[in-house]
Symmetry: none
Subunit: 206 residues, 4 copies
DNA sequence: AATGAATGAGGGTTCATTCAT
DNA sequence: CATGAATGAACCCTCATTCAT
């Protein structure tokens, strides 16, 4: 019944701490989170936390880096390797990805990025290089494929692939802020947008 | 309506402080801003600041409340009083409003709302009641008018007027974060989106 | 009877704090002294201390700089302006200065310098420039005057004026360390040394 | 006297640690030295270090005790067993000892003693009993022998044998502090002092 | 009304020491 | 014996807030 006060679990610690930190940052924001709290959440002493992360900022960066990125990696390789037509891909895997994001903790990360980003330019840079620009390229590839296929006509989407993901951001931010005041059905919202985009760029006949 | 020629004596003190606070919060975020700095920026002593605002949080709320809202009020009354057709209004006043926002300090307010909102639910509530829901209603009115006019067909936009403003938020957040890494032409981006929406909902012929 | 919690005494604060800090550092050394304690000793809040001294190190430097130096300044100007013969000066004012030092708080400063000096090279440099090298020059002047007068013969003291002050340092360090174990009569010890030196350099007859 | 050829297997662990600790303390002082660092320097784990030394303070005392003392032991027995005249001894072995000290790590120990001594009275006591008072006695013996021999006249040195070692301390402290700012030739400085002392106490003629 | 000196709770970080492995 | 992961008490410093002037 006596739980040992010491537990050596070197392997798992960083992930556990990172997990706990995400939860804490999500609730209180960066400044509002006390390192003590993160440690407590992780079931760990403050000292140990500092063994794995040199500073609170370090911890924050580790949190940001370790989430979201895998998800996007999956989407990207999916785009590259799929055998679906462009429209099928958009209606299938892309839509699934798009609608899942606002329900995931990614939402929280977006908040943190927006809130704290300006103070951590290197973090933004890392994100741009490793996540955003790659995702953008993948989207461009997908759209170009549709155009080359004759599925899509040439459109502003060629230049602004962001037009496709606009409602994802919006949903995340909207629910983050106004959840108690409204209940946006993000799935249908995003679907409607995608439908609208497809409607606008699909080659209609013949 | 006659503007008093001499003013700015005293007693727009609160406004001056609020102004200074916006600048400070914009630069450093809420937690990163020291009350001292705000006072210095406003050319006022710390003590005086506390005469007008009971706490730092109070000051923050005053800042948030005093900006953005007038702008939206204008848009709303514009919608209500315009004699333009729905499409003309979207292409005209709405687009102008939409493209101007990402260049204005509103961007910063959005950041502050996202960053600090969760800690200030009453602020969010105030915003919802006084700004967001009213703006949403106005948009709905506008769209409904278009449908009633026979300009627009029935569409998801009826339920989700947000589909129209999606790229405004996106532009603001995007430039906030990735300004140094990319240069999104927000004007053309937003125009492209609006065009796409109109393309999708306009009754095409006959 | 109720003492006001706040007391505005801007002028006196730095000196009071510096005073308290000397006492604290003397008792516990630099590392062993808590800023809190210094504040308490000075009857002041920790925060106020940081208003006047940016860091603990800053405070330490201020303490070191503000003591000892005036004492030596006096000796130096004394040497420059005296009308006594060299021997008279040594037996009179110099001896008085020399014997008083080991009983003064200077002892403590010497300890602090020795203990902490290596970590604060700029402090050492300041001391060298403002105190030590000037004192050395003054001593050299004094001895040279004696030689020029025909009071003293040429000797190693010309090159090493430090030979005169050797027992001062020794007395300070010795009592610092071994006070409880021995009772060196520093006055007579230093006198004996000075006598010995004079005996050795005085031109004896004719 | 036969030195065992193979050694250094294990179990001069304590000595190795003590060695490493001296180096560390010398560089950073007591408070500035991390136990971790000492362990690393000694090529040993922190846990093992704590096997040999119960606390950091313990380690510190061990360091202090293990150095300097052997050197002085040698001098003392030298004084007791020598067949040289008092003057010859002073000019020979004593001077050699005196000039070598300021160049040795003893200097560092002196610093540590001065800096940390007041916090470790038992260490001081140990030093007094085992090193200082014995050294003092030996010096007294030497001087008395000179007087009894008719080499020296009666003088203050009889009461204050410290007058002989004054410049040793001085040289150590001086170089410790002002090394970069001056270059005292400690050998010649100490020689000059000794010469002066002898000059003063030697029976001059017949 | 206006100032800014003064307060003190609170948070990030370090590091001597312990103990499971 | 040996390791180094884990603990937690301290300590420096900041800053929102108060109040004597």
């Amino acid at each position: 019944m006596a739980e040992p006060r010491f537990q050596r679990r070197k392997e798992d610690r960083p992930a556990e701490i990172t997990q706990a930190a995400l939860a804490a940052f999500a609730e209180k924001g960066y400044a509002g989170t006390r390192v003590d709290d993160v440690a407590k959440r992780a079931g760990v002493s403050k000292g140990l936390l500092y063994l794995y992360f040199k500073t609170k900022e370090d911890l924050f960066k580790a949190v940001i880096r370790s989430f979201l990125s895998p998800r996007i990696d999956a989407l990207i390789s999916n785009i590259e390797e799929t055998e679906l037509s462009a429209e099928e891909f958009v209606r299938g895997p892309f839509l699934e990805f798009a609608t899942s994001l606002p329900k995931s903790p990614a939402k929280i990360l977006v908040r943190l990025m927006i809130a704290e980003g300006p103070k951590h330019p290197d973090l933004i840079a890392w994100y741009w290089d490793n996540v955003v620009s790659r995702a953008l390229d993948a989207l461009r590839t997908l759209i170009k494929r549709g155009v080359d296929n004759g599925e899509f006509r040439k459109s502003a989407l060629d230049e602004f692939p962001q037009l496709l993901i606009t409602p994802i951001f919006f949903s995340m931010v909207w629910t983050l802020l106004f959840q108690p005041h409204t209940d946006l059905d993000t799935d249908r919202f995003i679907e409607a947008h995608v439908e609208m985009v497809l409607d606008s760029i699909k080659v209609k006949y013949q």
